[in-house]
Amino acid sequence: MSERGGPGVKGKGDGPESTGTGSTPEKAALAFEAAGVKTMPALTEDDLRALDRDLDARVFGAMQSISIRYLLLVGFLGSVVAFGAFAFGWQIYKGIGVAGINRPVFWGFYIASFVFWIGISHAGTLVSAILRVLKVEWRMPLTRAAEAMTLFALMIGGLFPIIHLGRNWRFYWMIPVPNERGLWPNFRSALMWDLLAILTYITASSLFLLLPLIPDLATARDRTRGLRRRIYGLLSFGWRGTQQQWHRLHVAMRVFTIVVIPIAVSVHTIVSWDFGMTLVEGWRSTVFGPYFVIGAIYSGMAALVTVLVLVRRSLQLEDYVTLRHFDRLGKVLLAVSVIWFYMFWAGFLTDWYGGSTVAKLIQHEHLVGHSAVLFWTMMVVNVLVPFLFLWFRRVRTSMTAMLVISLLVNVGMWIERFLIVTSPGINSLSYNWGSYTPQWPEIAIATATFAAFALLYVLFSKALPLISLWEVKEGWRVDRWRREGLVEAESDVPSLTTGATAVTGATATATTAAATAGSRGGAT
């Protein structure tokens, strides 16, 4: 909320419909709960229509206006990405040696970034699929933003193994088709598992994003003209909104929701097996699978918080992505942080107690040696900071605090991956110990990917609705449908305005939006 956030970035993407996004509705919502009110005032169809119009206006308004600041931002991000591309070209031209990797640290920034981005991609799956399966109702305004994150993070993460190859131009030799002598790739290599897992995940997550987007694309098609209309029309696959189509969408989404969760878990498990399956001391571990998965969820949730804070502010979606959402995400973040530490400790203690000299030396190096600064930074930002602060609602509902904490967590998770990837600097034959210092192409490319992520998001926010319009609208109506006996109380359809929302958390959305709509109705 802007009351805490210092100077706002209002100018960017300023829609025609920047209605009073002041803090009053927010506070009203919180006051509702404080007063112990369990039921919302019933919303009539007219109220709901007004809400719909307000939501549409904001989302499409944000999509259709392009400000100078927006162009500057795109230009800035684009140039960072371009520089990264130049660094990559330079690396291809000169050889992979322009990176800082060496013997014995054959993997460096690129693989750390790879694991990091694949980790980020788990946010979307978690928020959208797991919360969908559990029918958690407050997810609705967040799903689209989270699914988009998944896709973008995967697109970027998937590039890193290619960037990191010694002969990048031969990456396609891993594609499972036989070469001219009938030789197939080696499916016993963990890298092949990686390739297939990421291929599956990127396919699943892009379709998972696209399917529920189709009705919104159809809406966008009806509201635009010219070329944009043709593109949206093409992408909406002839969507007319018949009940037949809605039913089909529900069936398809049910399949996707169920399938995408095990895919996501398997992807990060397999990424961890790149390390866990080896003979390398410090990597070889059985806990790596679950440890990496939880780490992925951790960094993914943190990145989601970061993105939501920024998107909410710049697109003025304060009424839809509310403080209550941050409150809940903060709790999830806290829980995941604790689980992450538990997993870390399980691995750490095993290495320490198990008595492998090399593993102990690596630990020694982390605790008091050369990498101690990195290690303790990681411990502080990943464990201590969330544990000390996220217990407090004041922190969880402060945008500044959540932004800082979520960024710190991601710094910590990046360090974690970096420490793991570079640990073979210490190995069984002490003659071959070495260390690793990243070189400029690696830093440029890693930085460029952050810019690329932001750029994809910025472009996405102009091209497609960042809030799943129909899901939010449906959620608003379910309560009324229940009252009128149109759906059973235990129906599949989640509600955003049920009687018990003060407990389940979506009140804020509905109340604030209703209040906004009401005030606007009064004004006109």
Partner: protein
């Protein structure tokens, strides 16, 4: 080491790169000090090259079958298949694999003496000691042409050939009468990092620092 570089067209990386840990040597003499300070402490020298493991950890991890087992028990590295994931190098406990971080350089006049029997590798691929597979093949073909078995000691990798005190011995471990088989049976024989169960083909003899292959 120099014999190996010359025989196998190993690129010269230069001082700076070597300091970064990018020396390309296929065989290196690792020096380990005993406890204590210099004049008292004795250094031990361990020549380490690819151990040609029977149960090679580098092989299954390659996604493109660039690292495979040959019929005679060698770990072959197929250069033109390699795409440079460097996964094999990580999984090698002996760190015996070296990587072409740049295209290999042969400062003049070294380019005049490249071995025509050995591929000059390109940038971005992995390489390692082959036990001078080109020499093995040459002798074997010769023997086949002359229709006779390969004599013990007939095959000599460059390092064995040039080691003045004869500290390195090469031969067929499958032949119980060969010199290596006898030496390998010795109680002094140890293998490096046996705990990894890699079944290396290189056996070191304790104390004397001898080496059998």
């Amino acid at each position: 080491m120099v014999a190996c570089l010359a025989e196998n067209n190993v690129g010269i990386v230069g001082e700076e790169e070597a300091a970064m840990g990018r020396a390309q040597h296929w065989i290196r003499i690792e020096r380990y000090w005993d406890e204590g300070e210099y004049p008292e402490a004795r250094a031990q020298f361990v020549p380490v090259m690819c151990q040609q493991c029977g149960n090679a950890p580098c092989e299954p991890v390659c996604p493109v079958f660039a690292s495979v087992h040959s019929e005679d028990g060698l770990n072959s590295q197929v250069y033109n298949r390699c795409i440079g994931t460097r996964y094999c190098a990580h999984n090698c406990p002996y760190k015996a694999r070296v990587f072409n971080f740049f295209a290999p350089q042969f400062p003049s006049p070294l380019e005049q003496q490249l071995n025509p029997d050995v591929t000059v590798r390109s940038v971005g691929i992995m390489e390692k000691c082959t036990f001078c597979v080109q020499r093995i093949r040459r002798v074997r073909e010769q023997a086949r042409v002359e229709d006779r078995p390969i004599a013990d000691g007939e095959i000599m990798p460059a390092c064995v050939q040039t080691c003045p005190p004869g500290a390195l011995v090469f031969g067929d471990a499958g032949d119980p009468d060969s010199q290596v088989s006898r030496l390998m049976a010795s109680r002094r024989g140890i293998r490096l990092l046996e705990a990894f169960n890699t079944e290396p083909s290189v056996v070191y003899l304790k104390r004397e620092g001898g080496l059998d292959v």
